[in-house]
């Protein structure tokens, strides 16, 4: 058993992936020297020639990965911050997500684009964004957003092995914050499955990334008050684990969906719609969403950032109201 941070789990998985398959390589800005968050630290020495520093050219980082993956390589691209991915959106929308469909499955795109997302680091408007809602609208793409180190490790391995393009979201605030004991080998984890992290009968909280940890902390304190929460770690946002979502919603009858992205058009709307469509008769309260306010960018000032981000207290308040409904 070893204790790993999220960052160490990512680095471990990258090393394992490079080790396991000679077709894998890493490309991105500053990856050779370890990258901004040090996720690729030490890999260049272990795998000479398998890490490629790119210029600042995000659209091409993704586009080049598509071309290479199409022709038998397994690129693992890094976009330094999720905020910088937007110029590559076209490559995801117009090319990567429809690759298999367009080629009638004749060509696969075994590529991963990893990127650090989320706030809580005083990054302000260009270093704090949640981007998942843009990408979960692209059938053909997979979107993975783990919360715990062990899942980061196993799902990153699974993403590299997957024949489809995967957007792998790493919450930057959790990189060094969240630790976990991890076994020797990466567990077999399946993309497309969520996990019930905690069972409780009063309501279910759905979350991912930093918000999953905040939700667990809220659930812990609510338990002391006699409110018992089920907490679902969504893990994969596309394709979504509909079965687990509906099963937990039916069991508890009350649901709270939490995300850090802004509310309107946020990913929570999809979960709310699924539950409303398929678990309506089981509901004892209106579906509740807790998200960032609808303002265009994460403000820099400390107090404003704190106001913007949902946290354990806001989650506990919302859950209490819901439990009392």
């Amino acid at each position: 058993m070893a204790v790993m941070t999220v960052l160490e789990a990512v680095r471990t998985a990258l090393g394992e992936a490079l080790d396991a398959d000679a077709r894998t390589f890493i490309l991105g800005e500053d990856v050779e020297t370890g990258g901004v968050f040090r996720a690729t630290e030490g890999l260049k020495a272990r795998f000479p020639g398998r890490l490629i520093d790119t210029p600042l050219a995000e659209s091409s980082i993704v586009g080049v990965s598509i071309g290479a993956a199409h022709y038998g390589m397994r690129p693992i691209a890094e976009i330094q911050f999720a905020d910088f991915i937007h110029s590559a959106f076209d490559q995801f929308v117009s090319e990567a997500s429809r690759w298999s469909y367009r080629t009638r499955g004749e060509s696969s795109l075994p590529m991963v684009v990893r990127t650090p997302w989320g706030g809580g680091v005083h990054g302000g408007q260009h270093h704090s964004q949640s981007i998942e809602a843009y990408y979960t609208h692209l059938p053909g793409l997979k979107v993975v957003a783990p919360s715990f180190p062990a899942d980061y490790r196993s799902l990153l391995r699974a993403s590299v092995d997957d024949p489809n393009p995967v957007l792998f979201l790493e919450h930057k605030r959790t990189y060094r914050l969240i630790r976990q004991e991890i076994d020797g080998a990466a567990a077999e984890t399946v993309i497309g499955r969520s996990r019930v992290t905690r069972r409780g009968g009063d309501l279910t909280i759905y979350a991912y990334g930093l918000m999953l940890h905040e939700s667990l902390a809220a659930a812990e304190s609510l338990s002391a008050e006699g409110i018992e929460c089920t907490v679902v770690d969504l893990l994969t946002l596309l394709p979504l684990d509909v079965e687990t979502i509906l099963e937990t919603a039916r069991n508890t009858g009350k649901v709270l969906i939490v995300h850090e992205d802004t509310l309107t058009g946020g990913f929570g709307g999809e979960i709310a719609a699924l539950i409303a469509e398929h678990a309506f008769e089981y509901l004892d309260a209106p579906v509740r969403r807790l998200a960032a306010p609808d303002i265009p960018a994460m403000p820099y000032a400390h107090a404003m950032e704190a106001f913007f981000m949902p946290d354990r207290d806001k989650i506990a308040t919302a859950a209490r109201e819901l439990a009392a409904y």
Binding site: E29, T33, L56, Q125, P293, I295, Y300
Partner: protein, 335 residues
Amino acid sequence: MSASATRQRPAAANGVTPEQMETFLHQMMLIRRFEEKAGEMYTKGKIHGFLHLYTGQEACAVGSINVLEERDHIFTHYRDHGHALARGLDPNRVMAELYGKADGVSGGRGGSMHLYDVSKNFHGGYAIVAGHLPLAVGMALATEMRREDAVTMCIFGDGSVAEGEFHESLNLAALWKTPVVFFCENNLYGMGVPLKESLSANIATLAKAYKMPAATINGMDVIEVYREMKKAVAHARKGGGPYFIEAMTYRYRAHSMSDPELYRSKSEIAEYRKRDAIERLKKAMLDSGALDETRYRELEAQVEREVDEAVEFAERSPQPALSTLYDKVYVEAGQ
């Protein structure tokens, strides 16, 4: 802090009067001290997030921005404190922005990378590398359409040159003959990657390929920067279209406060420090009699006071009120 006060005086032999030289010296010293202090305050936990210091590059901002008139416009990137100060933004309010306070130039919403003061035609620092180049071309297009006699200066780093927007913007500016001065601060690195490993071409040659005049100059010589910028602005102002300056410079500090600097040697940094722009100008002024040690020490004391005052101002300034968080998500109709 503007050079306009001295603009009317007769030019000295190198095209710069002794008074202008003193203005340049003062501004460069102010930026240097401001940045050192900002770094210190970051370490003390007063400033958060991502902070990119400008020390080493002062001559670029001071030599170029002092050529601009008030009616001219500036867009810049995230390493923007020096540009803001050279443009005459209030150091107190710039420091307050780094602190995320209500009196900051962006009301605490922006922080270090997003300084903004439209009253100075300072249209912002931008942290999406190269994302602001098309904005500057659009600004220049608008000044043309509105028949305004204004030049737009667009400042960016060498790292921008590989981005698509760089090429699209140079092409458009040349195609439409918009009055833009592209000012590339080539400090040899984009974060930890040396330019020679991220660019297959030469920057000024690329600019020339888009059919605009381009010059590579010593960006650690404020007089040289000033003189080249004068040519550039004159060219753009008289309808000649865009002009490109590649100013060779060097940043003394890490890329940002969290960079372990594994990509360059201490001896390389020491080598560039020997070419320091402030020392160079100081020596030239001492040699020519435009400055003496007493005056130099007065200037030192003055910038110390200015920077201390900026810190006190930032400390005293209130946190932005949470009630303002939703303000101005949209502009009201008719506003």
